[in-house]
Symmetry: C2
């Protein structure tokens, strides 16, 4: 019998909530950690990709003969070397369409659909030979008119990216080809009736442009296709199991033939979920018989990995004079890039989630354009949508003469409130608490500095929401004779997985954090784990290690029973790392029992596999003070405070770091970052010199307030913290600039150029 105090009933934790050193820290700061590009193998070849210079072009012919004849070139491939997804794929059910697009995105087959789209690849004995070989490949392109603008792309007479793409129109396939891949709708109540009751209506259109996750480490993968048919891939990825599964489908081999070894990862933010060079490196390896490493340059990353959508969102909010919101309508169109699949539906779900609004109609459009296929980017879909909704709410508060916090509190969602998708909040949520935390913060209570003639000061506030994703996690562990426990987990450690899972296992077992030795394993070593992403890793991984701990505790109790020669019915209690028998003084510490396991049947090993159904919805509220230099258009962030309901902060330093990182990215999106295309669809700012991300010199220390409203179904109350913090900054900054300048900006980024052009039209 295991008797454990349910952590949610506990008032104090011993490990959770502390700030220990991360297990991977020393390797990372001393440069010993192996990232994607650090992998090396005997006989390693270097792979490079030839990419389309055109945003839209038919590929008539590819001549690789000269490249193949170049000394030092070991393999040249085109799409013809990959299985043709139109000529039979592994049966993966409804996902087939997605895999077909993935195959076409990995290597263009008949058409290049964006500048940078891969058309051929080379493996050679050095990078320079590989690059020379690329120059020797002749591609006969028939340029086609590119489709770059959302509004243009949606027109009936727009050039088509895919002649066979028909709109999924509210669940039914339309009969006419279009660049609109899907039109979905959330409908609740009667919006028309709601607006009829409204005293005030705010209605505006907002736009954002494509931006990139800007992870510091580019994609880098090494593949070896062994003579026995086994493919091993070392890659920097958030999702080793998804890479395994994708590569297996794209190359038409069983998943058991593919082993993915995740390297350390220098940022992902959603951009390291899909495969890019992995399948190409594998096919080059098969053709050359040698391992092949492929590393993307920053230009390739910007042109041809998966940024997030540019968007256009029309919002209409109706409220009564007392601030009660009676109806909202929105229409969101997101760029999917070259293939369907933006996060627009998620955006429409999130945008009004903090509020209890009786009447809603939220339409979303997924639109293909001749730009790179978008990928997830931190809270995918939510930032652009909530930029619109939270900007509009700010304007509504202004129009009503209400405090923006009071407006939000008045309309706040609570347990039982149904979101746009009709799913209710079943457990307590922290939206009210984060608003109250900001209202009571030193920041909110502090007066703004005075504006000057040329330096205009403003304060802005906005909320953010992300539902979080639970998905699946597995893990193993072993109890060692010195009382340490080795933990084998399967989530690449981006934001501190090793530490956060080790801490939750230590808490479960009642042992010190330092006694848990975590490691991230490859896809053949640990059970299936979904990606590190969706703010799921500490959440679901935590549930997995908690269940793992129960498995271990149960076994330890049985070992103690053997040592004490007790009967099955004798009660043995495991509590706080101590095992107690029914007799007076009959007890063993975890360490003492660990040292005696070999006497009682060998080592204790544990396992868990979980797939939780519930999620821990997460809310944040941010406030920003900034100054706009009206001579240069430069915006300076003066102070920034982010309050977030984290459920329970397992390692508060990492939680703060996640929030600070998300805010920095959101500020970049608000002020500077944008994909700038010319009329031919060529990205003109494809480097970090020209694509402007904020650095530490651009920002003050971001202040954080951790609100802990535990999520009851999680053993430690954890929600998930990584996504939400990128959401509020877009609107918060825009709202602050509006207040500073008395002009409402609805198009991001609010760059110096845009400010100057607006102020001096």
């Amino acid at each position: 019998m295991v008797t454990t105090t349910r952590p949610s009933e506990k008032t104090t934790h011993k490990v959770i909530g502390t700030r220990p050193i991360r297990p991977d820290g020393v390797d990372k700061v001393t440069g010993r950690a192996i990232y994607g590009a650090d992998v090396t193998l005997p006989g390693l070849l270097i792979g490079k990709v030839l990419r389309s210079p055109f945003a839209h072009a038919r590929i008539r012919n590819i001549d690789t003969g000269a490249a193949e004849r170049l000394p030092g070139v070991r393999a040249v491939i085109t799409a013809a070397d990959l299985p043709d997804p139109d000529k039979g794929m592994a049966d993966v059910g409804e996902a087939s369409a997605t895999y077909r697009d993935l195959s076409h995105n990995v290597m263009a087959r008949d058409k290049a659909l964006y500048q940078g789209h891969a058309v051929a690849a080379v493996a050679a004995e050095s990078a320079s030979i590989a690059e020379q070989a690329l120059a020797l490949i002749t591609v006969d392109y028939e340029p086609l008119p590119p489709v770059l603008d959302l509004v243009e792309a949606m027109k009936d007479d727009a050039p088509l990216l895919h002649e066979d793409l028909r709109t999924n129109e509210l669940g039914t396939l339309s009969d006419k080809p279009s660049n609109i891949a899907a039109h979905a709708r959330f409908l609740k109540g009667d919006p028309a009736a709601g607006f009829a009751e409204a005293d005030v209506i705010v209605e505006r259109t907002y736009t954002t442009t494509m931006v990139h996750q800007g992870y510091i480490e580019p994609h880098a993968s090494t593949a070896y296709w062994n003579a026995d048919g086994k493919i091993t891939i070392w890659t920097t990825t958030q999702a080793p199991f998804a890479i395994r599964d994708n590569v297996a489908v794209l190359l038409n081999v069983p998943v058991s033939r593919v082993k993915v070894i995740p390297t350390e990862i220098g940022g992902g933010f959603g951009g390291k979920l899909p495969p890019y060079v992995e399948p190409l490196a594998a096919v080059l390896s098969r053709k050359s018989g040698a391992p092949v490493k492929m590393t993307m340059s920053r230009t390739e990353e910007l042109q041809a990995s998966g940024p997030t959508s540019g968007s256009r969102t029309h919002v209409k909010i109706g409220a009564k004079r007392d601030g009660t919101i009676v109806a909202v309508e929105a229409s969101l169109a997101y760029e999917a890039g070259a293939f369907p699949g933006s996060s627009v539906r998620f955006g429409s779900l999130c945008m009004f989630a903090p509020y209890d609004i009786p009447n809603m109609q939220l339409d979303s459009y997924d639109v293909v354009v001749n730009k790179p296929k978008v990928a997830a980017y931190r809270a995918p879909g939510s930032p652009a949508a909530m930029f619109a909704s939270e900007s509009a709410l700010d304007e509504l508060a202004e129009r009503l003469g209400m405090d923006p916090i009071e407006l939000r509190l008045k309309n706040s969602a609570k347990v039982g409130t149904r979101m746009a998708n009709n799913i209710p909040f079943q457990h307590p949520v922290g939206n009210v608490k984060v608003l109250e935390a900001i209202r009571e913060s030193d920041h909110w209570r502090s007066p703004l500095p005075e504006s000057t003639e040329t330096r205009k000061i403003g304060r802005g506030l906005a909320m953010g929401f992300w539902p979080n994703a639970p998905l699946k996690s597995s893990c193993f562990a072993t109890v060692n004779p010195d009382g340490s426990v080795t933990l084998v987990e399967g989530n690449p450690d981006i934001g501190g997985t090793r530490a956060s899972l080790a801490m939750q296992l230590a808490e479960t077992l009642g042992i010190p954090y330092e006694k848990v030795i975590p490691q991230v394993a490859d896809t053949e070593t640990v059970g299936y784990n979904d990606a590190t992403g969706g703010s799921r890793t500490t959440f679901t991984g935590g549930i997995a290690v908690y269940e793992l701990g129960q498995d271990i505790k149960q076994q330890l109790i049985e070992r103690a029973r053997i040592l004490w020669q007790l009967n099955p019915e004798d009660a043995i209690v495991y509590e706080d790392g101590t095992i107690r028998g029914p007799k007076e003084g009959q007890q063993l510490s975890f360490d003492q029992l660990a040292a005696q396991l070999f006497k009682t049947g060998g080592p204790v090993v544990g396992r868990a596999s979980v797939s939780p159904k519930h999620v821990g919805f997460a809310f944040g509220c941010h406030v920003v003070d900034l100054a706009v230099d009206i001579e240069t258009g430069k915006v300076e962030i003066l102070r920034y405070t982010a309050a977030q309901d984290v459920g329970k902060a397992v390692h508060p330093s990492y939680v703060e770091g996640q929030i600070q990182g998300g805010v920095a990215q959101g500020i970049g999106w608000a002020l500077n970052e944008e994909y700038v295309y010319d009329e031919q669809g060529r990205l003109v700012n494809a480097s970090f010199l020209d694509y402007r991300m904020p650095t530490s010199l651009d920002l003050p220390m971001i202040e954080t307030i951790l609100v802990e409203e535990p999520h009851p179904p999680h053993p430690f109350g954890v929600r998930g913290v990584g996504e939400v913090p990128i959401v509020p900054p877009l609107a918060a900054v825009a709202n602050a600039i509006s207040h500073a300048l008395g002009h409402r900006f609805t198009d991001l980024p609010i760059s110096p150029r845009r400010i100057i052009e607006t102020l001096y039209p």
Copy 2:
């Protein structure tokens, strides 16, 4: 409810008994497999060891100054850089003495005790710099008289290796220092009374010399002592967990600070159980701050790794005229090398194990001499002892005019017979069956070729015994969506672990062998596993994967219950890879259920940890025909047949290979292999040019007969096959030569020199 047919009740297996391709085959034949010396890391240094030129010498002083000043040298260490085991060690209980010796063996502290004993080590930027540095180290030795001969060493006035070593005399420490570390005895019945009944007594003394395992891959280890205190060791070893534990104790760090990653291994045979360079590489790494690789040369291997004991065994056998053996006495003395711990006691246990003898006294002596500390070597202790007993039995048969098989059958042990240690055979054993198998073999029934003037032909027969060791095994597994299962095990794959464990798991789950993907994991990834050795890996590992299979099957049944929406009491049966429900036609194949696991709660992961109490005793009987060229003394093996009770041959090709390899080693021991020391204790044949091992050109194809007397407590009846086959060849060959020449040879090797010197004294 899991319902499985107990394999021992099965008449047929689907996977066990087949001969599939080994999973590691392609990597090994294409040269891609990473062995010890193949490991490389950024900034890798090369470590080299300075070794004593003296077999026995006091170390007065070591001056490393000049070596330290040599450019390119990054660290120089002596024993002073290792924790002094006399000044406090981690508390490891009774094992402390062993660890103390291990520490002194790894690096000489006050005395060098054999030629090649490590006295200092260097890490440098290249091997040549390291070697130059070794030449710059000045050691002030005081040479002492070496003790090289067993008989001399045991004398009261012999020079002492260890001034504090007192004999463990039948369980009591004697009060006088000695080179005899231990004297043990097995006593059964009344030997004196037994001999009084004997009609015939054979009494002789037999000797063997130190021989080496001769694994092709030398010891090679790379260590990195990280700035966070974590030590990672890549090493070629049979026992990654023992290396972990040993290094932890020798370096006085918790075991959880040491991670051992086993590389592929090119042979071990017991010689790759102890640590040699691992702790030195670790300390050099700590001192240099860089990873350090150390690879032993063949000369270092022969001088300073762990060969097996030279021995001297006195045997006396008494029998009645009808062949009934009434009493045996034996006195065995084994060289332990420089530190106590030979396998002499095992030898005395094995020597008469095949027989039911009422009266026995078997004395064994463990003796230190100025030679390298011995290690295990295939059936450790048994070959030298059974060379004596099986030679004496052959002579007894001759004296009685009995067929050697009939003599052995007449006296054969059976269920209930107690061995010398008083432990009875509780389960059926195969000693009779292997004798019968040889008696019925084509080989035994075929006449010998005629001898000629100069080419004398003989046939010899002998038995072998090894008790096998179960020890502990752990493993993990994951069921993949394509119906494959990844298996994580912890035993370096010397003789086919991956295949034999994958086969047993496949059999357990009722799935094809190819669907199991095994891997050998490091000490932080898989649970504790004892060494690959003792013929335990397929045996205990098989029990572990069987239990692992039960864990998985139970979980799969529960998943089927969810899919079929059945109640807990509804019977679900798992049989031959199919899960069947109570309703007509309600069934799912393993693959079908595997594909639906994500719907039913996520992946299925399994674990097992076992520590079986029972062993599967193993017997072999060999017959050899050979020709002796009396002009050159060269012995040619004409035909060789080995019958062995393997319990159940999981992969018959590997079992045959194990038997053939053991026989080849045994023949080398019998005919050619020996450590030749000069009077100063210098090994004069420390290379494979001068230390003569048989090659494939020296031997005919060894014929094998697999007898399968299942070991009932094992789920598949497995015993363990690796040790036994090295035991019989020594006596079989000696017996055949005796029959060819009419002279009984009692000293090994029966080399051309010995034959010529005997024939022409």
